[in-house]
């Protein structure tokens, strides 16, 4: 009896410690896809591509979020409703559900609020919900679609929900996810060594989690100041513009690295035209390291393996 008790206690301690060992896991996690209601996604897609949403009926969401560029804009700065370029580079929309907060500075932690801002901002859609609802209610097709999707009436909540359902349906696994799931054949030697370098040099300290970033803010220029004092613009202050706290100066949301090869140019001010340059800037200003060309190439190869697989 006593032996049994001792055995039980040791076994339970072992099991307990194993569950704790499991916490020391990889900094990067494989993608977990959530299924969306397909009818809602269809409606959201139609709304996303419809210029009705802007006041002058010239822009849709898709004007700046191109599907072939992983729903980002190829340009440095997209044009706003007033015809002038926006202050920051257009970010990608894919994997948006994995982000903890949104926009470059991460001032929105709620997609609904963010969408509200996009619709009503005079620089982007320059519209009001009333006009949008009126326009949609006049359209028989839309009324039918809203009914089919299970919305009782056309209101801001329904429109936001449909668009967000569409945005959330965009997540697709990449070759790297298959690799993390155990299919080691998916990555080449260069890509695997790139991943190792990515972890060794400390890129994965910030670009971590399921979304390879997106769940924290970091100062742009940890090791040495990135922005030149003479040429600094308001957008470069980052989260400081929202919080007005001196400690938040130059703090930006760490963007996701999934699909990174398709979302050039890089950084909020589009200052890096190529991925290689972006990696070098990150090394210099964030890590304080000057890497060899071979390392940069390997890391770039690894980042390319994060692209979603489209059939």
């Amino acid at each position: 009896m006593r032996i049994l008790t001792v055995l039980f206690i040791t076994l339970s301690i072992l099991v307990f410690s194993f569950t704790h060992f499991s916490y020391a896991k990889e900094p990067l996690l494989p993608l977990h896809v959530t299924k969306q209601n397909q009818i809602k996604v269809q409606l959201g897609k139609q709304l996303f591509n419809d210029a009705l949403l802007s006041k002058n009926k010239m822009y849709s969401c898709a004007s700046c979020h191109h599907e072939d560029k992983a729903y980002s804009d190829g340009k440095a700065f997209s044009l706003g409703a007033d015809g002038k370029p926006l202050s920051m580079n257009t970010p990608s929309l894919v994997y948006i559900d994995l982000n903890y907060y949104f926009t470059w500075t991460g001032k929105f932690s709620n997609l609904n609020d963010h969408l509200d801002m996009l619709i009503t901002s005079p620089k982007i859609m320059n519209n009001t919900w009333e006009t949008i609802i009126k326009r949609l209610s006049d359209n028989e097709d839309y009324l039918r679609l809203f009914n089919q999707s299970g919305y009782l009436k056309v209101d801001p909540e329904a429109i936001r929900d449909a668009i967000i359902s569409f945005e959330l349906s965009l997540s697709k696994p990449s070759r790297f996810d298959l690799y993390l799931h155990g299919d080691t054949q998916q990555l080449t030697i260069e890509e695997i060594s790139g991943y190792q370098l990515f972890k060794d040099y400390g890129c994965s300290s910030c670009h971590q989690g399921m979304n390879v970033g997106g769940n924290m803010r970091q100062k742009f220029g940890v090791m040495r100041p990135y922005f030149k004092e003479s040429n600094i613009k308001k957008r470069d202050y980052g989260y400081f513009n929202t919080s007005k706290s001196e400690t938040d100066k130059y703090y930006f949301r760490v963007p996701s690295l999934r699909n990174v090869s398709k979302t050039a140019p890089y950084f909020h001010d589009a200052s890096a035209k190529t991925l290689k340059k972006a990696i070098k800037i990150m090394f210099k200003y964030q890590l304080g390291i000057f890497p060899s060309d071979q390392d940069v190439e390997n890391i770039e190869a690894f980042l390319n393996s994060l692209d979603a697989i489209y059939e």
Partner: protein, 464 residues
């Protein structure tokens, strides 16, 4: 009054009280209090979420968690809960009652905490990077330099790296000071090395200083994160809300009425139960008594005698006691029954029974116990138990003698001409048997012996 009617009246009363209770329940404000419990549940959840966040921060701090996904999820959940708490506080109009609780202070503290968590995340990432890069630089420098010539330099760099890793442990301020001194001395050591390694060493020094600054910041942040004022504020809020709710319950008249009715119903049920219990116990006792007594003579009957005998036998084997059965058969009883009738016979039996109980009271002492029973017809039996281990036959003889004498006394009134005597047989236990039927049988045999001897005498059983 009829018993059943009483029952019905009691049931009716209980029913009346019960319906009154249900009515007051519907009428009182208990249901409104239920809706307020949502607030309590939310506060509890908030508390849990907050402590979860603290736990996750510590996990990340000790590198058990290598990503912030869980922390970000917890932050998101906390945000949602705070929003809904704010909404509930506004709808419940609690601020009107007590000015000290408004969601504003809570919201402010929550914002502050979120900011601290964000700071923690970025600082943690930077510190981890430095910790990863410093050993790497050390290796590069080692490969560049001659091991023997620059052994002091290499050792110093080694020391710094070890200390940097050790900064994770407790005596941080002291190690930091020491590190600072070593770094200063390291700067002085560089001149004799070549160009490339000098560059590397200066890079190393730069990184080490950077790391120290980050560490300092982190050391300030961690205590703030751990003793967070949000939890204290939540505690305060919980207390205030609990007090308000208690006051609400206590101060309503309807609630008091409800409690009064409830207590009344409970006490009525309890009293009814107690009365019923007493009644049942009395009933059972009476029936038990009846079942043990002979109806005519009020002596023990055969069943209770056998029960007592069993007990006595058990006792005798356990305590090494002795005892005897004195078997009594009345001589001439049949003639009385036949000539003077059954009524006269019954009278005789009652008289004899009374005389025998007289014997019982005469002989009963601490060491001696008599138990008289009527087995049936004109047969009586006395169970004698001696409560001392040494056996004294003379006492039993005395008892038997007394029995014979008492039975031979002339009967009163119209029965004085009747001729009545007793034949007595005695069987001892445990010497002459420990089995009930055997004992009774033996006593019976001894009694017949007395009869044959000429009646009106006693005989001890002899096995031969």
């Amino acid at each position: 009054m009829n018993k059943q009617i009483k029952h019905y009246i009691a049931l009716f009363f209980i029913f009346l009280l019960l319906s009154l209770l249900i009515w007051t329940n519907f009428n009182s404000q208990i249901s409104t209090l239920k809706s307020e419990s949502a607030l309590n549940v939310l506060l509890l959840e908030l508390h849990k979420q907050d402590s979860d966040i603290s736990q996750l921060i510590l996990k990340s701090h000790s590198n058990l968690n290598s990503n912030f996904d869980e922390l970000a999820h917890a932050q998101k959940a906390l945000t949602e809960q705070i929003e809904s708490l704010k909404l509930l506080l506004n709808t419940n109009n609690i601020q009107n009652i007590n000015e000290s609780i408004s969601g504003d202070n809570l919201y402010f503290l929550y914002k502050k905490r979120l900011n601290q968590i964000e700071k923690f995340k970025s600082l943690h990432a930077n510190i981890n990077n430095s910790l990863r890069y410093l050993p790497k630089l050390e290796q590069q420098i080692r490969s560049q330099l001659d091991n023997k010539k620059f052994s002091l330099l290499i050792q110093t760099i080694d020391n710094i790296v070890i200390n940097a890793l050790g900064l994770k442990v407790f005596t941080e301020a002291r190690i930091a000071q020491k590190n600072h001194r070593i770094l200063l001395s390291l700067e002085k050591m560089t001149p004799d090395t070549n160009e490339q390694s000098r560059e590397l060493i200066s890079l190393f020094i730069w990184h080490a200083y950077k790391y120290q600054d980050l560490r300092k910041e982190m050391n300030l942040l961690i205590p703030q994160l751990i003793n967070n004022p949000l939890a204290i504020e939540l505690d305060k809020l919980e207390k205030i809300i609990g007090k308000i709710q208690f006051d609400k319950i206590y101060k309503t008249k309807k609630m008091r009425f409800y409690i009064l009715i409830y207590a009344g119903l409970l006490s009525v049920i309890v009293v009814a139960f107690l009365i019923n219990r007493r009644y049942l116990i009395n009933n059972v006792l009476r029936h038990k008594k009846l079942s043990e007594r002979d109806q005519l003579t009020n002596l023990n009957n055969r069943r209770s005698f056998i029960f007592n005998l069993e007990l006595a036998l058990k006792n005798s084997t356990k305590n090494n006691n002795h005892g005897a059965i004195i078997f009594i058969d009345l001589d001439g009883f049949k003639e009385i029954n036949d000539t003077l009738g059954h009524q006269a016979g019954d009278k005789v039996l009652i008289t004899i029974a009374n005389r025998l109980t007289g014997i019982e009271s005469k002989f009963c002492k601490n060491s001696l116990e008599l138990n008289i029973a009527r087995l049936g017809g004109d047969e009586f039996v006395i169970l004698v138990e001696l409560n001392c281990p040494d056996f004294d036959k003379s006492i039993i003889e005395q008892v038997a003698q007394e029995v014979v004498m008492q039975c031979a006394i002339t009967l009163p009134d119209e029965l004085k001409n009747a001729d009545l005597s007793a034949s007595v047989g005695i069987c001892l236990f445990p010497q002459q048997g420990t089995d009930i039927t055997l004992l009774l049988n033996n006593a019976d045999k001894a009694m017949y012996h007395s009869k044959r001897k000429g009646k009106n005498c006693y005989t001890f059983y002899q096995s031969s």
